[in-house]
Structures are given as C-alpha cells and as structure tokens.
C-alpha cells in the first residue's frame, strides 16, 4: 500500500526475447490500435480512404512531436505542463513578427527560438533552484500564456505569408503531409536518442534513481536542463505547425494541449513516476488517439464525448495489466 515503487529490473541489453515482446505494453497497444482501426473501418465507409487517413494524421502529429520530448522528460522524473502555453507565446511572437513584415524563414526561426527560450527558462528554474517541476510549470504556464494575453488581448494576428502555410498544410508527396514526415523523422531521432545512445541510458538512470545516477557520474542537472530545452524546442516547432495550419494566432491557441500530450505519453506506457517507457509506445499511443478522435468524428460524435473515450482508454489501459496480474496471483 505504500507509494515506494519496487526496484525496477534494468536489463543489460535492450534486445528482449520474443516471448516478452508478445506480452509487452507495445503489443497491447498494437492490439488496441488494430481493434479501433477495424471498428472504424466497419462503422464508416469513409474511413478507409487515403485522403481521410491523411486528414487523420493531423489529429496527432503536432501533439505527438511534443510527446516525444515529454516522454524523455517524464522518464527522467520531471514534467512540463507549460507546453501549450509555450505554443501560444511562440505563436504570438511570430504574429508580432508578421506585423513587422518578417518573411517565412524568420518566422520559423522566431517560433523555434522562443520555444527553446521558454524551455530553458523552465529548465533553469527546476535545475538551478531545485524546484519541483510540476509547480514551476503550472506557474510558467500562466506566465507564458499570460504574456500572450497581454500582447494580444481579445485580438488576433493574421496575414501570414503564403509560403508559411506549407508547414501545416503542405504535402510532401501525394497524401503524405509535411507534418507526418516531420513526426516520423522525430520518432526515429528520439528512438535513437533514447534507446541507442548513452544519453538515453542516463535519462533512464536519472528516472530510476537520481542520487545513484549522480554518484555514477551522470550530470543529473545538466541532462534535465537539456530535456527541458528539448521540450521547449519541440513546442516551438509544434507552434510553427499549428500557426501555419490555422493561419491565425489567438492567445487561447492550443488550450488544454498539455493534458492531451501527457495522456499520450502515459498511454504510451511511460511511467509517470519516471524510469520506464519507450518511444515506440508513444508513437502507438499517438496513432491510437488520432484513430479514436478521427473515427468518432466520422460518426458525428462531438469532440467532448470523444474525450470520454480518451479518458476511459487511459485508465483502462493502465488498470488492465494490474487487474490481470492480480487475478492471476502475481508473477
């Protein structure tokens, strides 16, 4: 009944035998994803259309990009609730630049730099002053979005240049959107970083035991700082995509995204207590959330009812293995 987690099994190798792969979290997610896909294609004739499926990807690519960085951050035992506010602030700054007559390359640069700066600000507060990240980022969440509100009030920025629309609305090839390509590239990069580099192993080490990691020569503060910067950076990139897709900026842009991103990460099997998780799981969770929202959308289910399904999915997918293990008397 105590909160203290059991010591986790940390394997020397990442390659597991096939038997464990079948019962893994990712396998469960694949089953869920296939099931939802099948239900969707039976219930709506419009679902299995390449253009529909392409539209579907816009439901998760922007949030998914942030979810990769957030996964690393949560694995290291921290959290960032300010990601949606960073999107709002970065988008507002891009809007200001447009009014000043900035071109597309400058806009993209501003979005990314503002995101990175906000992430660094979070990182400094958490690592330099040793503050709990959940509270710091609740504060910066109000602060960042608050600045957007001060600048914009009830106004909106419009008039983004024609070439800027490519990032959120453009297609690279046939129905494959730029956003989807970016999402897949980011997935591969983050997979490599987390599962194939010593940096990734350090992130896991910090999440499992920050004190032991520190004594093993891991620069805990520096790595956490980098992770906050990464999360800010990805939020900045997401801000460019969303602003480009919507073509306008209001201070309420991307409201509530932070909880959806965290839901995605947790659904992907990342332990909210830190120390465990995989990028593949997050990719699958992103697909599942996209499938659920899009499939229900085709059936004319309102967005708010979809959120019930997402919430139930989150709790059930996490509760299921626990109940199952208990019924079978623990392994």
């Amino acid at each position: 009944m105590t909160e203290i987690p059991a010591p986790r099994h940390i394997p020397d190798r990442l390659d597991k035998p096939l038997s464990s792969a079948i019962f893994s979290w990712e396998a469960l997610l694949v089953v869920v994803a296939v099931a939802i896909f099948a239900i969707n294609s039976f219930s709506s004739p419009y679902f299995l259309d390449p253009y529909s499926l392409s539209d579907l990807t816009f439901n998760f690519t922007e949030k998914g990009l942030i979810a990769f960085a957030m996964a690393l951050l949560i694995i290291s035992g921290e959290i960032d609730l300010s990601v949606a506010a960073i999107i709002a602030l970065a988008s507002t700054m891009m809007g200001m630049a447009v009014q000043a007559g900035a071109g597309t390359p400058v806009l993209v640069l501003i979005g990314i730099v503002v995101g990175l700066g906000c992430g660094a600000f979070n990182g400094l507060l958490v690592t330099r002053l040793g503050l709990p990240s959940i509270v710091v980022t609740i504060g910066t969440m109000s602060l960042f979005r608050g600045i957007a509100f001060i600048i914009l009030g009830d106004q909106a920025y419009k008039g983004y240049p024609e070439s800027f629309t490519f990032f959120g609305q453009g297609y690279v090839w046939w129905v494959v959107s730029f956003e989807l390509v970016l999402f897949l590239i980011a997935a591969i990069v983050y997979w490599l970083v987390l599962h194939r580099t010593s940096f990734g192993r350090r992130v896991f080490a910090i999440g499992n035991n920050p004190v032991a990691a520190q004594f093993s020569g891991v620069r805990v503060s520096r790595i956490k700082f980098i992770l906050f910067c990464l999360t800010g950076l990805m939020s900045g990139i997401a801000s460019v995509l969303i602003t480009s897709r919507l073509g306008s900026t209001r201070p309420s842009i991307a409201q509530g995204y932070e909880l959806e991103v965290i839901t995605m990460v947790v659904l992907g099997g990342v332990s909210i207590l830190g120390g465990a998780g995989s990028i593949l799981g997050v990719v699958l969770a992103a697909f599942i959330m996209g499938l659920v929202t899009f499939g229900l959308g085709l059936l004319n289910v309102p967005g708010i009812v979809m959120s019930i399904f997402i919430g139930l999915l989150l709790i059930i997918v996490i509760a299921l293995p626990i109940v199952w293990r208990r019924l079978h008397g623990g392994r």
């Binding site: 959940i134 969440m141 201070p251 965290i262 708010i304 019930i308 709790i315 509760a319």
Partner: protein
Amino acid sequence: MKAFLKYREIWLLAATVVLIGLISTRFPAFADPGNLRQVFNDTSILMILALGQMVVILTRSIDLSMASNLCFTGMVVAMLNAAHPAIPIPLLIVIALVVGLVLGAINGLLVWRLNIPSIVVTLGTLTIYRGATFVLSGGAWVNADKMSPDFIGFQRAAFLGIPVLSWIAILVIALFFVLMTRTALGRSIYAIGVNPTASVYAGIDVGRTKFIVFCISGMIGGLSGYLWISRYVIASVEVANGYELNIIAACVIGGISIAGGIGSVGGAVLGALFLGIISNALPVINISPFWQMAISGSAIILAVVLNARSERQQGRIILRKVEAVT
C-alpha cells in the same frame, strides 16, 4: 515545526496586507471593509476548493478532476432544479455533496485498490467527468430563467450582514481546521505526506486514508458545483474549464508543498485570497484583466522559490540538532 508554519503564514498575511495597501494607494476605496467583504465573498468558492485540494496534496497525491467534478455536479443540480423547482435548496446541497462524493470515490478507489498514480487517474477522470456533463445535458445550457428564485437567491441572502456564500466558506474553513488539527485523520494525512513508509509502521492505512482524502475533495467539488452554478447562473459544459490549475495555484501560493506533508488551512485560505484580491483589484486600478494570468503565474513562481528556500533552511536546522546530540 509549529512556529515555523506560523512563520510562513505570517509572511503570506503580510504580503496580502502589502498588496491591499498598494492597491489602495491607487484606489483608496479598495481597503474599505465593505469592499473587502465583497472580495472575500468573491473568493469563497476558490477557498473551499483549495481546502479540498490541500488535503489531497498533503498526502503526496493530486486531484486534477475537481473542476470537472464541479461542472458535472453543477449540471446535475441545475437540471434537477429546472425539472423539479419544488426540491428545497438544503436537499439540493446534500445531493450535490453526494454526487461529488461518488465522483471522488471513483478517483479514490482507482488510487487505493489499483495503485494507479493519482495524477494519471484524475487526468483521465478530468476528461471523463466533463464529457459526462455533455452526455447528461446533451450540450444544452441551463440558463437563469430556468432556475428557481430560491436556487439563485439562497447564497445571496444576507445573514448578520454577510451573504450565505461567505458563511458557507467560513463553515468549511472551520471544519477543515478542526479536521486537520484536532482529529486522528488529519494527523494521518500529514503523516502520510511526510513519510508514507513510517506511516505504515505507525499503523496508518495509507491506501484507505488516500481514498478518504479523494472522497473529501470530491464532496468539496460537488458543493462548489452548486455554489458556482447558482453564483454565475449558467450551467454548461464549459463551466470552470481549466480551473483545476487555479485551485492548485492557490494551494502553491498558500505554501502547501507539492511533495506532501507541508501546508495548513490558513495557508490555503490566504493563497486563494491572494489570487482573489488580484483578480478583483485589476479592473479598479485600470489594469487590463488580460494581465491577470501573467501576474498570477509570476506569483506562483515567486511563491515556489520562497517556499523552497524556507524548506531547505528547515533541513539544515534538523541536521544541526542531530550533530549537537551526537
């Protein structure tokens, strides 16, 4: 420890007084007792909610679903009132408490029986409860003209010159004060936050206490549901959207440590009042209300920085004592 806690609240109280002083230099009528009573009344719901959140945070948990619970319960009582205006208000309040309790118990059971981290459980129920409000109402609003005069008027009625809403807040504050300082449950809540393992050895059922804590925050969410709807006289799916973070912000400003075990009723009340004063003062001193979000954000960050510093000092003092003994 006790002296230390008082120390923190005195500082917060001083900050609040300074804030009121600063505002009254720009707008003298703000410090008028009548206006301060008004500010207290305006902040009542946030104070009540912050107290409910406080007991949860003290046990190292968090309840993100309070605002959704408020929204759902508010819709239930509003629809009941619209359909059966004859139901007396005290009974409606009891219904609100029970509905809130059930929603809180669902959170509590998932945390207690399945050991799922509370942030995950309440992240899920946050969306579920708000979605359930939509299913319940079919997306329709319950407007002022459908509510009975009693439903709207109950909390506005003055008793000894103070509205009933303020009296409810005072009553809840008193109940929480007794709970936290004079009952075994209150002490267990602190014990779990300070050291869950030691609490188990001290004979405290940690899981069950967490369940009770979520029931309390659920009941508070339900009560606030009725208070909110009858105050702003509209029940919709959008009610209190995103408010869960304001509640946590009030707790944080009130010096309640997110790591559990540290915090007091006075702190939570002052934290909520601090936010209430800011939101009430901005319009009267001619600052655009759009500044409010950034100001409360800065207040949260400042509060965390100050709290963290005092917590660290506390650690050093204990070490010094140990050294002196050995």
